[in-house]
């Protein structure tokens, strides 16, 4: 067999089309690449893009009904604005400005919380908005709704006379370490379906048969044109690869009525973030992180007998 000389490139040139892009949500098409790349991006977005989260809590006073560790855990899960995490911040474990004890500006941000319920009439809700950050860039994500009503994430409720005072240290981390550092709420991708109706066979169906076939799909993928009475594909992506329409066609004695294949090089991504970083930042950071990972696994020149190995192997 004729083989090309070594050193040729087999690079791909993926294409992207954004369908929707909001601060915390993105939907886009990725084409001309394969599932391994789509999946690597998904995995990196979920587990390896860094954010900042509370990691160390010193409770000064806690007379609430929740235990200290329960509150510490809840604090850890609060999303903090993390645009600085990707490049400006250091991981505590490789920060040489401190011993990783959380006392340095390069790798940690301090928070304070002090709340005491004094109104005997009602309980006091302590929320993420009561956390006082020492760095304006890193603070709890604003959870304001469409009406602009911002109440923050509930941490604990205090009854009259109860108190909570604490100091917390937030650090940079990744979802692989603990899920609280994951910037992703959901990251999914699906294969784009290629739906092909056999028009000739379809025309042998009566309108009632077409109707019942269209309705056999659990999601609204097909519809009937009210004028021409032809079956049309209205939303290919609504198809969940459930095979129901194929089974239905077979049951009607019309196998091959429709052919549905997953395009192996086209994906539709949905990305939702916790608000720690924007969806666009998440995608871009994931690409950067994946490139850093690839760079880290390159063979080093000082890998001893590399040349010798090559000489030995190529000889055959």
């Amino acid at each position: 067999m004729e083989r090309p000389a070594a050193g040729a490139s087999y690079q791909r040139f993926p294409r992207v089309r954004i369908r929707e892009l909001r601060d915390e949500y993105a939907k886009f098409e990725l084409r001309d690449t394969d599932a391994s790349m789509a999946n690597a991006l998904r995995r990196v977005m979920i587990a390896e893009v860094p954010t900042v989260a509370i990691d160390l809590v010193e409770i000064e006073s806690n007379s609430s009904v929740l235990t200290d560790e329960f509150i510490a855990h809840r604090l850890g899960l609060i999303p903090l604005t993390s645009s600085a995490a990707m490049s400006a911040m250091r991981f505590s474990r490789d920060c040489d400005a401190c011993d990783g004890d959380g006392s340095c500006e390069y790798c940690s941000i301090e928070f304070h919380l002090a709340a005491r319920a004094t109104d005997s009439g009602q309980t006091l809700e302590v929320t993420a908005m009561d956390l006082r950050s020492t760095d304006p860039k890193v603070c709890p994500v604003d959870q304001a709704d469409a009406a602009g009503d911002s109440r923050g994430i509930l941490i604990v409720k205090l009854r009259c006379g109860q108190e909570l005072r604490l100091r917390a240290i937030a650090r940079k981390g990744i979802g692989k370490d603990h899920a609280k550092w994951s910037p992703a709420a959901t990251v999914t991708f699906m294969y784009e379906p290629d739906i092909c109706i056999n028009e000739e066979l379809m025309e042998t169906l009566t309108l009632e048969e077409k109707q019942s076939w269209v309705e056999s799909s659990p999601t609204k993928v097909f519809d009937i044109d009210p004028v021409t009475q032809q079956v049309t594909v209205v939303d290919p992506e609504a198809y969940t690869y459930d095979d129901e329409v194929i089974k239905k066609a077979e049951a009607m004695g019309k196998p091959g009525l429709v052919e549905i294949n997953a395009k192996e090089d086209s994906f539709v991504f949905t990305v939702e973030t916790t608000g720690a970083i924007t969806a666009y930042e998440l995608i871009m950071n994931a690409i950067t992180v994946l490139r850093q990972k690839l760079d880290a696994i390159r063979l080093q020149d000082d890998d001893g007998d590399l040349g010798e190995l090559d000489a030995h192997l190529v000889g055959g």
Binding site: Y10, M37, L294
Partner: protein, 119 residues
């Protein structure tokens, strides 16, 4: 008390090499690469990229055990190439693909925002 640190899953311990390889003793142009602290994310893209190289006769990876934080990539090439050459080429191609993807995303964002503003 004696639980290992969580970061042991993804931080290469001091004195350990990130990548090491061992050539096959019986087959020419075959070698196994052990990559420390990596998983399916790297293993699968590397394998699929190696499959695109016609000089690669075999490429596969395994994660030997979920508590051993390493993968093993095995490559067998034709005589025109070598496992290390194919390995390096695959990484270069993936890196360039991602560089390209990053640019594509930036361009697409600009186009998308213009379109939304109605230019």
């Amino acid at each position: 008390m004696n639980a290992p640190d969580r970061y042991e899953r993804f931080v290469v311990p001091e004195g350990t090499k990130k990548v090491s390889f061992e050539k096959d003793t019986k087959i020419m142009n075959a070698a196994s690469f052990t990559i420390e602290r990596e998983d399916h994310t790297i293993g699968n893209i590397l394998r699929m990229q190696l499959h695109r190289d016609p000089n690669v006769l075999f490429a596969g990876y395994k994660l030997p055990h979920p508590l051993q934080y390493k993968i093993i990539v095995r490559i067998h090439t034709a005589s025109q190439s070598s496992p290390t050459q194919a390995y390096t080429q695959a990484i270069n191609d993936l890196d360039k693909e991602l560089e390209n993807l990053k640019q594509a995303f930036e361009d697409e964002k600009t186009r998308f925002e213009r379109m939304k503003q109605g230019y």
